[in-house]
């Protein structure tokens, strides 16, 4: 560990709140999103507790509506969307590129402040009584019929959107303009490709949801009728504009995780990634095709049947690049020298659970099936398999893998493996019953349900308690490790990648001198030779 590194280079609250160091900004985001995750988690806990009884155990339906809305808004916009990009992306992109910082460090800090401002609006909405529109803010419910804090919540999301836009902009320019000499596009780590694709979505999609929420606020405030059928407005237009962003947003949430998994799978199989070009191009393909499928959220909304046809077909297409990745990861694992440290457990969990989630997406993309399972727990199970079983596990895997680099310390891997397994078990117990519940017809966003669904709901809640425990354990040992963990060297995993060539933690400017890249990525066969020769 170097004597002076980015964590101890400067002390005091000002040095953190006015930092332009991308690594410190990553920490700011890490703390913030962990806070928001706990709020979203509390909402989920209350929801699942309520669902222990068919008539609702602890809250009134109006309150339940507010709980699922806050859970969705907070988890999506203030945890998942920023999670890997703002934490791992901010920290790692300059390091992986051999750069001293991102292209626009002050803009980076501004992003965080904008994010926190948006978060404050949502927190205000929460404290002042909550919002019950669902995270989707559908009109005319949100514009005409509710007296909850819609404008504050929508305003918070609107503001937070600009944080994403600025981050995406920063990343694209950094990746284009600040690569080390010799680091050509096809020598980039696949995490960078994933972050590039994610940034495209940030840039193109977020402005649309921003203006949509602004229109919602205007309609609510001025009592005009942009989306009000009685005044000639079209509520489906709101859905089109909303989902134009929100569907690509789900790819924002999964692509970075896929990038992490690409890194983990290769590092812990000690093997070069299989099909580098396929994985790189599939990331971009997911970003592009992801913009063509938004109507699959609207099959039963009243949109034209022909539009539904088109969106259904395109939704089938978007599964292809994802499948390509899963096959390539599997091929990487094959005949690899696999070790099962915690990051690898998360990566393997990701591959399995994402596959299940993704395949159930194809069910939903089939209009005939969607007629029956739209707005049921089937959908909820589908996206939680991808978001939690996929994205969050990727995030956890990435945090663990790069933790030595970020903190300069090793975490206790035994505890980490236990936590990973608890999370895996808890997750499946929570969400697999929900596939069945949805298939049997239990609607989502309902505080009560028919008594015959109780057993499955109880199993789900029990699983949720295990899952929650699984998330608390890493909080404890990761915090512990910052102070008491063994000191990590520059490359505790013996992995490839420029970030592992500098010290742990890195100095403020990352590299003593700008590295020059001469080799292809993931050169594990060369590393093995070197070790044998040595």
């Amino acid at each position: 560990m170097p004597r002076v590194h980015y964590l101890n280079a400067d002390y005091g609250i000002k040095s953190w709140l006015l930092t332009t160091d991308h690594k410190r900004i990553a920490w700011l985001y890490l703390v913030s999103i962990t806070f928001f995750f706990s709020i979203g988690g509390v909402a989920a806990t209350l929801m699942r507790l309520n669902l222990l009884e068919p008539q609702g155990l602890i809250v009134e339906p109006e309150t339940y509506n507010k709980l699922f809305s806050m859970h969705g808004i907070v988890m999506i916009f203030f945890f998942l969307v920023p999670s890997i990009p703002a934490v791992l992306g901010n920290f790692l992109i300059p390091l992986m590129l051999g750069a001293r910082d991102v292209a626009f460090p002050r803009l980076n800090l501004l992003s965080w402040y904008v994010f926190m401002t948006g978060g404050s609006f949502v927190l205000y909405a929460l404290i002042a009584g909550g919002v019950d529109t669902g995270w989707t803010f559908y009109t005319p419910l949100s514009t005409l019929y509710l007296n909850t804090h819609v404008m504050a919540a929508a305003g918070g999301v609107f503001i937070a959107g600009f944080s994403s836009i600025l981050t995406g902009l920063n990343f694209v320019v950094t990746i284009h303009k600040m690569r080390a000499p010799g680091l050509t596009w096809f020598r980039l780590p696949l995490f960078i490709w994933a972050m590039y694709a994610t940034s495209i979505i940030f840039i193109i999609g977020t402005p649309v949801v921003a203006i949509t929420l602004a229109l919602l606020i205007i309609e609510r405030f001025f009592h005009v009728g942009i989306f009000d059928p009685a005044l000639g407005g079209d509520p489906i237009l709101f859905q089109h504009l909303f989902w134009f962003y929100s569907h690509p947003a789900v790819y924002v949430m999964i692509l970075p995780s896929m990038g992490v998994v690409s890194e983990l799978v290769t590092a812990f199989s000690r093997k070069k990634i299989f099909g580098y070009h396929f994985i790189a191009f599939s990331s971009v393909a997911i970003a592009v095709i992801g913009f063509l499928v938004w109507g699959h959220h609207m099959f039963v909304s009243g949109q034209s049947v022909y539009a539904g046809l088109v969106f259904s077909a395109l939704s089938m297409a978007v599964a292809i690049p994802s499948a390509v990745k899963v096959f390539n990861w599997t091929a990487t694992l094959y005949k690899g020298s696999i070790s099962y440290e915690a990051p690898m457990l998360y990566a393997l969990g990701f591959i399995g659970l994402f596959t299940i989630g993704g395949l159930t997406g194809l069910y939903l993309a089939t209009t005939a099936i969607d007629q029956h399972v739209h707005a049921t727990y089937f959908v909820i199970a589908h996206f939680h398999y991808i978001m939690v079983g996929g994205a969050v596990m990727g995030y956890m895997g990435g945090i663990h893998y790069w933790w030595p680099k970020i903190s300069g310390r090793l975490y206790p891997d035994a505890w980490a493996r236990v936590a990973a397994i608890i999370i895996f078990v808890g997750f499946n117990l929570t969400f697999f019953p929900q596939f069945i519940l949805g298939y049997l017809g239990m609607p989502r966003r309902y505080a009560v349900y028919p008594p015959e669904f109780q057993t499955l709901n109880v199993i789900s809640t029990a699983g949720a308690s295990i899952l929650g425990l699984g998330y608390i354990i890493p909080l404890i040992y990761l915090a512990w490790s910052i102070r008491y963990g063994p000191v990590a060297g520059p490359n505790p995993w013996k992995a490839t990648g420029l970030e592992w060539t500098t010290s742990s933690p890195p100095t403020t400017h990352n590299f003593e001198e700008t590295p020059v890249v001469t080799e292809e990525p993931y050169g594990y066969d060369r590393l093995a030779e070197e070790i044998q020769v040595a």
Partner: protein
Amino acid sequence: MYFVVFFSLLTLTLLTWQIAYIDLGRWNMVVALIISITKTVLVAAFFMHLRWSASMVRLVVFAAVFWLAIMLTLTLGDIFTRNMVSQPQPWQASSVVSQPTTAGSPQR
């Protein structure tokens, strides 16, 4: 050069304004859009120096236009096909499927 572009832009503005007073039916909008696009190309190419810019920058412009086109196309695609009624095929003579689809959805 800037002045030449400026006077072209003014001329095109005058043109679009005056043509609007002539009734060409649907073509009014087409002509207006063509003129607007021309003006945009002039501003972008010469005032914004796109003509001499790096290809990456031009790719960004193309991407923005491309995705705007996607948003417009697919959304309008829905709006314009909402009330299209499919004629029943011979083999659908007696099935429910041949009912014209209104903007309905199964109520949950």
